[in-house]
Every structure is written in structure tokens, then in C-alpha cells.
């Protein structure tokens, strides 16, 4: 790694000036100049110079080096969410490319600093990752490489089972029930203390209702005694507390969990983050940084970023177009009750209140939204029509994907479904002492898409390795409620009376 050459350093100062001028606000940004091997290494390590040893990074590296060598793809830009922000420039890129990358990077840095979903991340994760690496290496020295590595494999297989909202909740107290049970007392309405009206009591407090309430209270108490008291989504955290782990295993699991939470916001804001950076590189380049003779090169590079494969979605393109649409709408005042209620096409097209709120609106959006809320709120019928979105579906007969429809609602639903919970299924820990046999019960909240069954089976196997008792998951397979159970020797799939719902 090398520090920047003189003219690149000058370039950095220049671009940083433009970015500040436009109101972007970022942590100090440090650029490193790397060759393509180093770039692939860093990219395989997800932007960090040091990670714990694991073959998965080697696999990523292998893939990247190959696609670079065959010219299939090139990593342009890499930036990590830390303070100071580190970004990597590829040695040998043309000057225009470097400018473009720098402008793009400032967009990301601003986003990291201000988007609220990043507000809980550890900004000194470079050190964090290095410490994790040291700890894992130490465990490997003591326990043997294979043992630790295969345990990491197991942890990876669970690392999407986390609760996206956990960082925003107050830590729950680990409170036990009071040791003396209070008698259950169902509040009765008394119309009056007046004993003369006691004949009304059966009407005001119908005995069936009282009985129902008592039952519910008892159930609740029963539920409270369970572990967990309510279904919980932070499976990794749950295992850390309750699974029979060796100290080194607990340490490794903790490391994987911490890193999973660190990377989570990036997976929740892919469209927004890339869109924002693309918006800014295009803005900074076209209004400030670009010299006349660089125009063609810039246009080529920039179109590469927002290019779409044959009819597929590109988060860069979708993101930047949404921001531009928002900016335009808020500039012209195309929002609010009046706008929503207007159904005259002509009036809508000519609508312009000259509010010029666009800029402040997009800054607000980048602060408060994530991909789901972003699409939900700003992906409008007009935007959808104008940009020619469609849904596609696989034609079983030909194996081809075919355009299914251009219906707005369907498009938006499909999109949101793919983004919700960063594209992962909702899995809950329901009971740690299922059937009073110490078995772990999980449940999948079915939202219309089945689990990939062969993966689910293998994941169960991995879970049993940690839990050391049978593990089951309730799910729905082709519209039928099912239970998949692994008891350490074989997988069983049985029917369930009803699909599981979050209580």
C-alpha cells in the first residue's frame, strides 16, 4: 500500500472541497493506493486489511482474481465505514476514474456518517477486526486449526439470524420472576360499591369473560417462565447466553455476531447508499471536477456504473434515479394532500410550485430511511411507469424468465418482499426447552416464500452442533405447515396442524 502521489493528493483536496461546498459532511477520508491483487485481497476481506483466517475469504479472493484476470469485472471503489474513513484507489486507473471514485467515495462517507442505521456501528472497526483476528488465531493455536475453522463454518451458517432492530432497543433486563407467585387477580368492574345493585354483577362481569381472562393470564405467566419469554430474533445472542459452549466457542460465536451486526446496516441500505454515492459522483463530476477533455472517458465510466444487464435491476441506477425523482418532486412541490388528490394528468405534469425543497429533502431522506422505507415511500406509480419496471417470472416449461406484468402494485410488492429483513427470512427462537426435553424450537414467519429446503436441513445440522440437543423449525412448505427436526442422526419432516404465527 502506498500513500497518494502528489497529484492524487492534490486531486483529493480539490474534490473534497467540492464535496464540502455541496454540503456533504464526512469523517476524515484516507485514500490508499493499491494494486489489483491488494484490491482483491481487501475486497475479499470486505474492506478490512486484517480478518480472522478462514477459507471463505480465500474463495472470494479466488473468484475476484479470476474475474479480474478474465476482464469480467473490476473493483472500482472500496470504502469502509470507520472513522477515519478508509478508501482504496486502484493503481493504474486513469485520472478521470480516480476523480470519479473519489467523488463517489465522499457520497458513501457522508452516508455512513449520517444515516441513522449506521449510528450504532463501531467506527473503529479496523481495530475491532484486527483484535478478532488475533483472538481467533490464538484459539487456533490452542485448539487446532481444523477444529476452530469448522466451528466458524457453523457460526457463519447462522450469521443471518440476527435482529435488525436490536441495536435500537434498550438492553432488556434479564429479570427473573419474583420467587413468590402473586395470585392471579382479574379486575372486576364494579358498577357501584352499592350492594343493592349486586344483581347486576353477572351482567357487568360475565363469568365466562372472567374465566377467559384468567386463562389468558395463566397462559401469559406460563409463557413468561419460558426461555425466551417472547419469541426472539437474535438467535446468535440467544445461543451465546444459553447454549452449552466452551469458552473459546463462545468467544468465536461472539466475534461472528459482532461482525454480523456491524455489516448489517450496509445490507439494509444498499440501494440508498449506492444511489447516494452515484448521485454525488455525477453531481461533483459534471458540475465541478470534470475537465473538457475528460468528458468521454467520464461518460463511459459513469454509464458503466449505472448500466443494466439485460433487464435487471441495478441498485446504483435505481437509487440515483429515486433521489433525482425526489429532488425534482420536492423542488416542484409534488407532494402532500393536494398532489395526492389531484388526478388530472395535465395538471400533474405541469405542476410546479417552485418550492426548491429538493436538496434539503434528499439530505433528510439519506438520514432517516433504509431501503425498505425508501422504496415504500418514494417508489411511486409515476416513477415506476416512467422507468419501465416489470415483474418477471420463470417459465417452468422453457426455463426462461419472462416478463410477467407491469402492474404497479405487484412490482412494488415483489421489490419490498425482496428487501424486507435485508432479504432474509424471519426466523424466531421460540422455545429452548421444547417438550420439556431441552430441545430448541425455532419458527419461520412465512411471508409467501418458502425456505430453501436443502440449506435449511444443513443449517439445522449446524445448529445441533452448537445446541447439542435436537433442534426443530416450524415452517411452511408449498402452503402446508411443516416441522423439520434434526435429532443428531436424521432429518424428519412432519406435518403441523397450523402455521406458526408470531403471538
Amino acid at each position: 500500500m502506498a500513500t497518494l502521489t502528489k497529484h492524487l493528493a492534490d486531486l483529493q483536496a480539490e474534490i473534497e472541497g467540492y464535496a464540502t461546498e455541496y454540503g456533504l459532511d464526512f469523517f476524515t477520508t484516507i485514500y490508499e493506493l493499491v494494486d489489483y491483487r491488494q484490491m482483491s485481497e481487501i475486497a475479499a476481506y470486505e474492506g478490512f486489511p486484517v480478518r480472522y483466517p478462514h477459507w471463505r475469504f480465500g474463495m472470494e479472493y479466488d473468484r475476484m482474481i479470476k474475474s479480474q484476470t478474465y476482464g469480467l469485472s473490476k473493483i472500482y471503489e472500496l470504502v469502509i465505514n470507520t472513522d477515519p474513513c478508509y478508501a482504496y484507489l486502484l493503481e493504474g486507473n486513469s485520472l478521470v476514474d480516480q476523480k470519479l471514485v473519489m467523488s463517489h467515495v465522499y457520497g458513501h462517507c457522508d452516508f455512513f456518517k449520517h444515516n441513522r442505521f449506521f449510528s450504532h456501528t463501531d467506527r473503529r472497526m479496523i481495530d475491532g477486526m484486527a483484535n478478532h483476528a488475533t483472538r481467533v488465531r490464538r484459539h487456533m493455536d490452542r485448539q487446532g486449526i481444523d477444529k476452530v475453522e469448522s466451528f466458524i463454518d457453523v457460526c457463519h451458517s447462522l450469521d443471518n439470524l440476527i435482529d435488525p432492530w436490536l441495536p435500537f432497543r434498550k438492553p432488556q433486563q434479564q429479570r427473573r420472576e419474583p420467587s413468590v407467585e402473586m395470585p392471579i387477580n382479574i379486575g372486576r368492574l364494579s358498577a357501584n360499591a352499592d350492594s343493592e345493585r349486586s344483581y347486576l354483577d353477572d351482567y357487568i362481569n360475565p363469568p365466562e369473560f372472567i374465566e377467559q381472562q384468567r386463562k389468558r393470564a395463566e397462559q401469559e405467566r406460563e409463557q413468561r417462565r419460558k426461555i425466551p419469554p417472547q419469541p426472539e430474533r437474535d438467535l446468535l445472542g440467544f445461543l451465546l447466553l444459553h447454549a452449552p459452549l466452551d469458552p473459546w466457542e463462545a468467544d468465536v460465536l461472539g466475534i461472528i455476531r459482532e461482525e454480523a451486526y456491524y455489516f448489517l446496516p450496509q445490507r439494509q441500505t444498499k440501494i440508498m447508499n449506492e444511489g447516494w454515492a452515484t448521485y454525488w459522483h455525477s453531481k461533483l463530476m459534471t458540475t465541478r471536477a470534470l475537465r473538457d477533455d475528460e468528458l468521454i472517458d467520464y461518460a463511459e465510466a459513469a454509464s458503466g456504473v449505472t448500466a443494466m444487464g439485460p433487464n435487471q435491476l441495478n441498485p446504483y441506477k435505481l437509487g440515483v434515479e429515486l433521489y433525482r425523482d425526489i429532488e425534482d418532486r420536492w423542488n416542484k412541490g409534488k407532494f402532500g394532500k393536494q398532489w395526492d388528490e389531484c388526478d388530472d394528468r395535465q395538471v400533474r405534469d405541469d405542476w410546479d410550485l417552485r418550492l426548491n425543497l429538493g436538496k434539503s429533502k434528499i439530505f433528510e431522506v439519506r438520514r432517516l430511511y433504509n431501503d425498505v422505507t425508501f422504496i415504500d415511500e418514494f417508489f411511486t406509480l409515476e416513477f415506476c411507469r416512467r422507468n419501465r419496471f416489470f415483474t418477471f417470472v420463470e417459465n417452468r416449461r422453457s426455463g426462461r424468465h419472462e416478463i410477467e406484468s407491469r402492474e404497479f402494485k405487484k412490482i412494488k410488492d415483489t421489490m419490498l418482499q425482496q428487501l424486507t429483513n435485508f432479504g432474509q427470512p424471519f426466523i424466531y427462537v421460540v422455545d429452548a426447552n421444547h417438550l420439556n426435553r431441552g430441545e430448541l424450537l425455532l419458527a419461520h414467519r412465512h411471508e409467501g416464500v418458502d425456505l430453501r429446503l436443502n440449506y435449511a436441513r444443513d443449517t439445522l445440522r449446524n445448529l445441533v452442533r452448537i445446541w447439542r440437543r435436537p433442534v426443530s423449525i416450524l415452517t411452511t412448505v408449498e402452503d402446508k405447515p411443516k416441522r423439520i427436526r434434526f435429532d443428531g442422526t436424521e432429518i424428519q419432516i412432519t406435518d403441523e396442524p397450523a402455521a406458526w404465527r408470531v403471538p
Partner: protein, 368 residues
Amino acid sequence: MISRIEKDHRRFREIVRGRIRENLRRYVSRGDMIAQKGKETVSIPMPQIDIPRFIHGDNKGQGVGQGEGDPGDPVGEEEGEGGAGKAGEGEGDKTVEVEVTLDELAQILGEELGLPNIEPRGSQTLETVKDRYVGLRTTGPESLRHFKATFKRALRRQISMGTYDPRHPIIVPVREDRRYRSWKAEPKPQTNAVIIYMMDVSGSMGDEQKEIVRIESFWIDTWLRSQYKGIESRYIIHDATAREVERDVFFSTRESGGTMISSAYRKCAELIEREFDPSNWNIYAFHFSDGDNWSVDDTAACIRLLREQLIPASNQFGYGQVESPYGSGQFIKDLTAAFGDEQMLVTSEIKTKDDIMDSIREFLKGGR
């Protein structure tokens, strides 16, 4: 220092190798791994090594796209990462092509089948040294002086010294300007092993039988190549008559004559006599047939040829009999009856593709 990623990468390669070894039998019988001619590596399609997670299934192939078209129109083929923000997630069915060098492959094969290394016959492992001019140096015999380079050096020196006059461009090289060609000695392995493949292409040998021969010969090739520095392959096809052919022809010819195995053996013997002196060459002969020879007399001729010429000349003679619906499969019985437990003659029956592995082991386990 080895960088960290190199270690992780090596670890990954080990896993890949492990996978290949585990599934070697399947790969071998499917013929997936046949390398293109002249290439040092094979690509092996392998299910992506992935970490299982609770993830969504294929969602019935649904997704959102952008662009022109009416309902029912096909979407561009590379829909792999169609979903919004889904890049990098949820792809699982894809196979990756893993590149493995032939040497590595031979090693895996050897480990898996427990093949012994071959002790080359004949003491001289022939290796010639060939000189090649590669660069320049400041000393050397005048006969190797590099005029152009010398001239350039002299020109450069004169310009920098200011003694060069463009109007009288006279260049006078001095001792220090002179440059001489330098050479590097490269050991060049001399071919000292030859594999002679013979195949019955009579009417009874169908495509499936030939595929088996093709796969098997690839693996034998791979193994023997890893054992010798240079190796030659020759191909003979025969029905009632035999002729030597190119590799491509060998695998694609289909004739419809009767079968006279002795013709091939005679051809083979001639070839050895003409080109490959058994005292200098390690000779491997493999013959594949469905075992349906024309006549008892011809079989007797074969046995005589084997006993008197081929077996004494070669390190090993392998006979592989593939099963065909037409063949009687008599030949292998005749051979066993005639030679009993002659070590240099190895016979093997290959009924289906699944038997290829065992057959390879039969052929190569002797370590000769």
C-alpha cells in the same frame, strides 16, 4: 512473507481438492474432466461451495426488472442477480468451474487410487540441455557481439558526451559499449516413454464404448504424464486391418468391418521396432476391444505376437474389454487362459462407466 489472503486461499484450494477427491469416481465416470488438447489445466464443474443458511428459496423465479417488453417476452438471460439489492445473496444453484492442473489431478488420482510411482525402466533418464539466447551481457566472444545493441550504447554515450555530430554521424564503439548475446541453458526433457493405444473400431463398438475408452485413456495419459517428463502417445485403430492415426481420428472413427485383433498387434510391433527401441524407451501399450475376435486362429496369432514381441518389449501391456451388446467377450478369456498370471499383461473388464475407476487401478497399480 506470505500474505494472509494467500493462506486463506490455500486453505480454500485444499477444500476444493478434498471435494474433487471425494467425488472423483463420479467425475471420472462422467467424463467431465477431460482436458482440451494441449491445455495444462482442466476445469471441473463443481457445485458452489457454500455455507448453508436459512434463506429464501427461489421464490418461484420471481423478480423485478426494468426495460422494454410486453408480458410474455423473455427477460435477458443473465437474470442471476435480478432482484433488487440481492446481489451476492441467494445464489446457490450455480456451479463454479474450478481449474486444476493436470499434475494436481494426477496427484489426486494417485492418492485416491493408491497408485505407486513408476520406476522408469532403462537407466538413462534422457534429458538434453538446450541453449537459448535470452539477453545481453557486457562480455563474450566477438562472434556473439550484438551489433545493434552495441551501436545503440555507443550512440547514447556519444550523445551524452557531446561528441556526436548529426552532420557527420560517425559512431565509434569502444570496449565498454560492446554488448554480447548471453544464453541460458534449459534442460529439455527427452521423451523416453510412449503410450500406444489400440482400439477396436469394428461395427460392434458403439459410441458408448468409445466414450469409455476415451475417458479411460485420458486418465491413463494424465497419470503416466505425471510420471515421465516427456511422453509420446500413438494411436492405432483396427477392424480387420489396422492403421496408425491421429488422436482425433482415433476417437471419432467408426468402421464396420470384422475384427482381427492380430492386425493391430502386428502394427504395434512394427511401430515399436521402427521407432521405439525397447532398451531406451518405456513402452506402454493399451488395447481396448469388445473382445469379439474373428477366429480362433487369429486369437492364436495374437497370443503369439504378445508372447514373442509385445510383452518382452513393453513395460506393461494392458487389455481393456468393454462390454457391447454384440460382442461375445471371448478374447479376455482366451488371454487369461493363455497367460495365466503373467505380470506384464494386465486385463480388465469395463462393463459400464462406473467401472472405469477400478479399471484404471487395475492397469496402473503395478507401478511398472
